[in-house]
């Protein structure tokens, strides 16, 4: 299939979706049935977007602030979560204790930690980080443990009969074999962390500006609120797309790609 055709096949359903949403939105606006203070026109939102890009309370600095927070806390959560995940597989006792704790934490929405975080850390940067961390770690830990447990036993058996054991076996077979599952886990974990971060920011936690703060601060400006929501969605899609590209590389090489 020529490249242009492939790109077109990828793009048109998405473009059609955006077009349809804008069309319905604009049509509803034009009927005048909904108060324009409650539902602005797409053009109003676009204006709010373009005129609020920069400046102290601009969208770009806010997006930057949120992304830096996310990158920092998620990196730490990935390291800690991965180590916990390994430990859960390595030891039954860890699985039964820490593993249960991870499942328990996962059952708790990250935002449920906010009241405690505010009591402990005040409305500080540390409170946001705590909430994102406590949401991200169990997601990463559980994904790590599952990806290792799903390594086909035929592969480890084959390696063992060729003389691999101990760390060599883990390093040369178990680790590479669990990569696709692990990556899928990270793709889910980042979304958990991203939602936790925005939730915390909306409650005005954290010193620096973020998208969540902007959402709360612009409560009077409905157009800007929708613009901020749009930015959050676009960032989410972009990061997810980045994950998918890597995922396709990993799975494509192994022939385990599910066409999408």
């Amino acid at each position: 299939m020529p490249r242009a055709k492939r790109v077109f096949d990828q793009v048109w359903p998405r473009a059609a979706l955006v077009g349809a949403i804008l069309l319905v939105w604009w049509a509803v606006y034009e009927t005048g049935l909904i108060d324009p203070d409650k539902l602005p026109s797409p053009a109003d939102v676009w204006n709010a977007f373009t005129s609020n890009l920069t400046g102290e309370d601009g969208l770009l600095p806010a997006a930057r602030g949120s992304l830096i927070r996310l990158a920092f806390v998620l990196s730490v959560a990935v390291v800690v979560g991965t180590l916990i995940g390994f430990a859960m597989v390595a030891s039954v006792a860890v699985q039964r204790s820490i593993g249960t704790l991870m499942t328990a934490l996962q059952a708790l929405p990250s935002i449920a930690w906010l009241p405690l975080a505010i009591v402990w850390f005040d409305f500080s940067e540390r409170a946001v980080m705590f909430v994102v961390f406590i949401g991200g770690v169990p997601a990463v830990a559980i994904a790590t443990a599952i990806s290792i447990r799903q390594v086909p036993p035929t592969l480890t058996r084959a390696a063992r009969t060729m003389g691999a054991k101990g760390w060599t076996l883990q390093w040369t077979v178990v680790l590479p074999a669990c990569v696709p599952g692990y990556w899928t886990g990270l793709q889910q974990a980042w979304a958990v962390a991203w939602r936790a971060l925005l939730a915390a920011e909306i409650i005005r936690v954290g010193a620096a500006r973020g998208l969540g703060h902007l959402l709360e601060a612009s409560a009077q400006d409905i157009s800007l609120i929708i613009a901020v929501m749009g930015v959050i969605v676009v960032i989410g899609l972009a990061i997810d797309y980045g994950f998918s590209i890597v995922d396709r590389r990993i799975r494509g090489k192994r022939g385990s790609l599910v066409p999408a």
């Binding site: 060729m162 003389g163 022939g255």
Partner: protein, 281 residues
């Protein structure tokens, strides 16, 4: 090549050669997921001579694969001994390679890297690894496919790659667990012929598990027929037809019929007994 194969084709009786593998009075049972204890092997004893090709055959669930796991050192017997060169087998070792029904190639490595795997574990130098791997890839007709990923190969090619990987370290003993079981009949015959050639050239000791009687008789010096679960050797057939063999050999066909008849009786007997003891089904 042809002449050397002809010279090797008359297999001496095992008495002429030292015993390589010994299974002595082995018992092994498993606990199933639901907690039931199942006897897989009961009092299994047999020897395999150095360079001998032995096929284990029996009804499904008779513990054939368990015998291989024990010989590979992946599992230990509950009772009895499993020996190689008179020493107990306690863990997997480079002197024994195991082939599975699933080629179990590492999907993240190329064909070449897969074959290299065991050699790297041995800590060989890059030049030596390259030379050895090239040799094996040529032997299994995969030289042109060395840089592909396993999923880009056909089923038969994957099995050849797995064979090259298993043989790359030149194990004394090759163990195979229905390695061609999942292939179609044509591909199976092609691989059986290739395996016969490779084995005549190498002369490793070979223990091959299958439930395909034709395959067993075609390949083996000796076929051991196992009973239904718990598995125990029922009968042995020595196949003295010279190699290379063909599936059309009258003698081969005759032994195949014999073993089929024997197995059919055994399955019938086992089914009848299972019927009398429904709890064990």
């Amino acid at each position: 090549m042809t002449s050397s194969r002809a010279a090797l084709s008359i297999v001496p009786e095992p008495a002429d050669r030292p015993v390589k593998l010994s299974v002595r009075g082995v018992r092994k049972s498993y606990t199933t997921g639901s907690g039931t204890r199942i006897a897989a092997l009961e009092d299994v004893s047999f020897d395999v001579a150095t360079g001998e090709f032995v096929c284990l055959i029996g009804p499904s669930g008779c513990g054939k694969s368990t015998i291989l796991s024990l010989l590979a050192g992946l599992e230990r017997p509950d009772e009895g001994e499993v020996l190689i060169d008179g020493r107990p087998i306690v863990e997997p070792g480079p002197d024994r390679a195991l082939l599975f029904q699933d080629p179990a190639l590492f999907p993240w490595l190329s064909v070449r890297q897969n074959v290299e795997y065991a050699l790297r574990l041995r800590g060989l130098g890059p030049a030596e690894i390259r030379e050895t791997v090239d040799g094996w890839l040529a032997k299994v007709h995969l030289s042109a496919f060395a840089d592909l990923q396993p999923h880009e190969l056909s089923g038969g090619m994957r099995h050849r790659a797995a064979l090259a990987r298993a043989l790359s370290c030149q194990p004394d003993v090759l163990l195979a667990d229905e390695p061609f079981g999942a292939l179609d009949a044509q591909m199976r015959e092609i691989l059986q012929k290739e395996l016969q050639l490779v084995w005549t050239e190498l002369g490793n000791t070979f223990v091959f598990v299958t439930h395909n009687v034709r395959e067993a008789v075609f390949l083996a010096d000796r076929v051991i027929v196992l009973s239904a679960r718990p598995g125990t050797p029922l009968e042995e057939y020595r196949i003295s037809t010279p190699r290379p063999r063909s599936f059309e050999d009258v003698l081969v066909a005759k032994v195949v019929l014999d073993i089929h008849e024997h197995l059919a009786k055994e399955v019938e007997r086992a089914t009848r007994e299972e019927g009398l003891r429904p709890g064990l089904a």
